[in-house]
Symmetry: none
């Protein structure tokens, strides 16, 4: 089976958004061992969409459409396909009910054009939308398969994964698979990582190894082709071991892990509670931890001490200390960590202070960050970061570094990884 993905939406052709749906669907299909030969993007224009469909029918067994299923007039994907295939659009009662419930729940009145979202192509297999209103569809016309998915990634991704992917897996007969595994690294640059594993990158065939850098992290994607999952797993494990023998020190997690999720796992494992006092990050560290479900057993809370006055009044950091060392100092970060730990009665206290930018502040250049950690009754430790990004990149990188730094310090003290 080979696939073409057609994304429908003028916003893509105007350059307002990137076609991340094609990326997502492609990566999911590659896990199933299904080849994608083309991506096409076409605007909200029925005539041009029909032309794109006719071309795709010549070169793909399955055409996957994303977008154009919404309530508005420029949403015309299913109407165009209905006309092209000479099929009726029929009301799907389940979908209509879901839409009505959606409006009731939000205490909003359903306008009539929303009913249009519950129309599906006659004879199609309806894919339920658990995160929005427009249902998806899978239909067969002769040997040709068509799949229609909604445009918003928050709707498309779960629908593809839980509704569409199992149906496609069932349709496949050859059973070949492509499996990917992502290794995540922190604390090493992309160029240096590449140099260190150059000999592996140079001879790669199966599995392939692809480096990618983003937001201060580097990932290596190992992709193996094999007859079955088991064989692919063995290929990936061998390559993984070979890579980690060289750069394992910087490896912190795999696939969907994040530095924050690994930190929370380590806190769970060691039953350690945490509180944070944040200045430049203003709550971002705590908010990143709170992305992980169940975090309430370890995250007690903390304070945002954005102003100098909040640092003295809320945390009880002495004016003398601030006058002597300034708020952007090792001493202040250390004191913030100690005080917040004491105040919230937790095992760990974290202090974050610095200059996010764009301007310099307290005689310190933008990007200067001090992180303090108070772990149990151990003497607090601090670390200075000098970042060079824009304001919000610096804030995010300070949070990532803090997660990594705390994990490292916990490991040093003998806590389980």
């Amino acid at each position: 089976m080979n696939v073409e993905i057609i994304a429908v939406g003028s916003e893509l052709l105007l350059g307002q958004i990137a076609n991340t749906n094609a990326k997502y669907i492609s990566s999911q299909l590659s896990e199933l061992g299904i080849n994608v030969y083309y991506h096409t993007v076409v605007g909200d224009n029925s005539a041009r969409l029909v032309e794109a469909i006719q071309i795709a029918e010549q070169r793909a067994d399955l055409i996957i459409f994303s977008g154009g299923l919404g309530p508005t007039k420029d949403d015309l994907t299913k109407e165009t396909i209905a006309k092209h295939l000479n099929r009726e659009l029929v009301m799907d009662d389940m979908a209509l009910q879901a839409i009505e419930q959606f409006f009731n729940k939000q205490n909003r009145v359903m306008t009539d054009n929303n009913r249009k979202q519950a129309l599906v192509l006659e004879g199609s297999d309806v894919l339920t939308n658990h995160h929005g209103m427009a249902p998806g569809m899978l239909l067969k016309e002769g040997k040709q398969l068509y799949m229609l998915l909604p445009g918003p990634p928050k709707e498309l991704e779960p629908m593809f994964q839980f509704e569409a992917k199992p149906k496609l897996a069932a349709l496949l007969h050859d059973g070949g698979v492509i499996t990917s595994h992502v290794l995540r690294f922190y604390g090493i640059g992309e160029a240096e990582l590449e140099v260190r594993i150059q000999h592996i990158l140079d001879v790669q065939t199966n599995p392939t190894v692809a480096p990618l850098a983003s937001d201060g992290e580097v990932t290596l994607r190992i992709t193996a082709k094999a007859d079955n999952e088991q064989q692919a797993y063995v290929l990936i494990e061998d390559k993984k071991r070979e890579i980690l023998d060289i750069v394992g020190d910087y490896h912190y997690g795999d696939n969907d892990d994040s530095l924050a999720s690994k930190l929370v796992e380590m806190l769970f494992e060691n039953k350690l509670t945490i509180a944070a006092a944040e200045s430049l990050t203003a709550g971002l560290f705590q908010s990143e931890l709170a992305e992980i479900s169940g975090v309430s057993s370890v995250l007690v809370g903390g304070v945002v001490t954005y102003s100098e006055q909040a640092k003295t009044m809320q945390l009880g950091i002495s004016a003398q200390l601030i006058n002597r060392y300034s708020v952007v100092s090792s001493e202040c970060a250390s004191e913030m960590a100690l005080k917040v730990r004491e105040k919230f009665g937790t095992d760990i206290g974290v202090g974050l202070t610095g200059v996010a930018g764009p301007g310099s502040h307290y005689d310190q250049p933008a990007g200067t960050v001090w992180i303090g950690l108070a772990i149990g009754n151990n003497p607090p430790v601090t670390h200075r970061l000098q970042l060079s990004g824009a304001r919000n990149t610096n804030r995010l990188r300070a949070v990532k570094f803090t997660c990594s730094y705390l994990m490292r310090e916990l490991a040093k003290l003998g806590y389980k990884k």
Copy 2:
């Protein structure tokens, strides 16, 4: 002139990266008033690339290729085009010199495959690569234009902007411009907004008006074609006024504005200080405000009271109140707002409590959020939200709603917008 963008690279079809080059080029072209009708992605496969070129020649005046100009064997874009157009590849001395210099500078020995990067299509206009090795090309065959650009965004973007764009502008004779303006709405669904301005959407030609929904907001992009910027501005202003006469109540900002940035502007304008007590959002509200540079003059700080104990110990919310009403209640949100305002000595106190999900908690379904606002000495007000998204969508939407809610309540009390 109309354009098709063909991105060449198997990594795109495997879903390893998104086609951000097409997004970038499209947004640049729309500024020049050039229409993009299709994006195509094809793998590192000469036969399929030729087919894609033949299709594009039928429907585009200019075909822009990205990727496949590098030194390795799977880089085959210019070789394929050379064969397709029956043109020779010739060594470009300037490009070769630049590549040699690049290696000298890095103290690395130039391997022979790197010479291949200096080969260009005979008769083409060479586009210098200031950020990498492979030069770009612009060439004409009869009436058909072809442009070849390197794949890495760090090379492609400056090459397009400084080398290609001026050449394209010169090729265009009409000198027209396309200018876009984005109106941002909150508190109204996409479908309802569209119903209310249906008569405008129905007759749109120039300017065009395109609705887009994302993350609980709706935007309308007004795009005008005109002979010059001044005329485009007038067209957009007229259309903007026409739209805001109908749905102006929901309009909160334009272009790059966010709800948080508008709230911070309003706090600046009225010299109001703010503190927040956050439970389910765990610092996200404060962190979103802190994205805006200069916020320290209004954001004093706040507390994250993730655990129940933190709510009583850190904010002094009485155990009786929590026992009687639970932490997910109007009473608790109101008390959090009052207490944090008092504690931090600010003009405004914000309290956020609720159930982020995925599970229900305190007998409340996931997505239940209570927001409390204490403004000056006015009696506190609260609002209940019932969200239906995933955990982190709910947390973000609660923050957005809080920004909008606070702006509305401030306006009611007579503060300047």
